[in-house]
Amino acid sequence: MSRVSVKRKVLRENDRIAEELRARFRARNVLTLNLISSPGAGKTSLLEQTLRRFPAGRKTAVLTGDIETDNDAKRLEPFGFPVKQITTGGSCHLDAQMVERGLSSLGAEDVDVLFIENIGNLVCPASFDLGEACKIVVLSVAEGDDKPLKYPATFVRSALVVINKTDLLPYVSFDMSRARDNAKRVHPGVDIIEVSCTTGQGIDEWLRWIEKRLAAARKTAPAPKD
């Protein structure tokens, strides 16, 4: 009997496609943001607010994932930006290959920002690199303020926590400062923005965050936009 060393990443096929996608996005100066949350935290609502107020002159597109239905794509189409629904038919997360296929049918790669709305799930999407510039986790105040501690894999990998539904704070037991502390405890460098997609509070700060990321990405990316 002998032992053969393999040292292969389990998701090497996913990671290979994700790296190809990342190179493609960088070459075209596309900032790709992977939005993750539990079901109902408000990813689509955040995108509705984002598209409604997206800066003039900036181009964007959305790949939105769901297990079934194209309801989210229908909600986002009226804003006039390219939107493509990815229906996974049961799978609990998006993987890099789904994004690659979604991109070819989206047919809009010449954008400043590409949003990928992942499947509503705080566990599985964390393991799958989609070639994004960063992951963003959306948490709503209707959930527990200990979510960052319960789902560290997602919070550790996210550059930003968007805390949504702040208009509901008077009616729920969510403790904002505890939630912020928990997020920082799991990931000290994480940014946090509080928003309400119902009232629009905080959306400007979110749009400024995207602009800042865009500027930072373009400073490091040598490729000019053609």
């Binding site: 009997m1 002998s2 032992r3 053969v4 060393s5 393999v6 040292k7 292969r8 990443k9 389990v10 998701l11 090497r12 096929e13 996913n14 799978s91 609990c92 997360h93 993987d95 566990v123 599985c124 964390a126 393991s127 799958f128 501690l149 560290p152 894999a153 997602t154 550790v156 990998r157 405890r185 799991v186 000290p188 460098g189």
Partner: protein
Amino acid sequence: MHEMGIASSILDTVLAETAKRPGIRLLALGLRIGEISGVNPDSLEFCLHCLVKDTELEGLGLEIERTPRRHRCPKCNREFDVVEYEVACPECGEFQTQLVSGDEMEIAYLEVEDA
């Protein structure tokens, strides 16, 4: 719940590796699964067993090494295991420490026998 897809990826890689070595029999599989990889080792083990049942790989041994979350301090270079989300450097107290391991999902080795 994504463990089934991950188990299936593992078997694809394992089968590709064994195909490169004709005349060997696969006995066991060694995995390294990080504490914050987002994968539940028990569930992964269950899925792997389901997938190999009634195949030539039935009875395949499985050893999962659970690797801890480790951080490095950018100020004093100390490396340490993170316990209970305590990411501050135990040496100098620096709060902004960096993840160095604990998020991996790796096929470490195969145990084989010449048939």
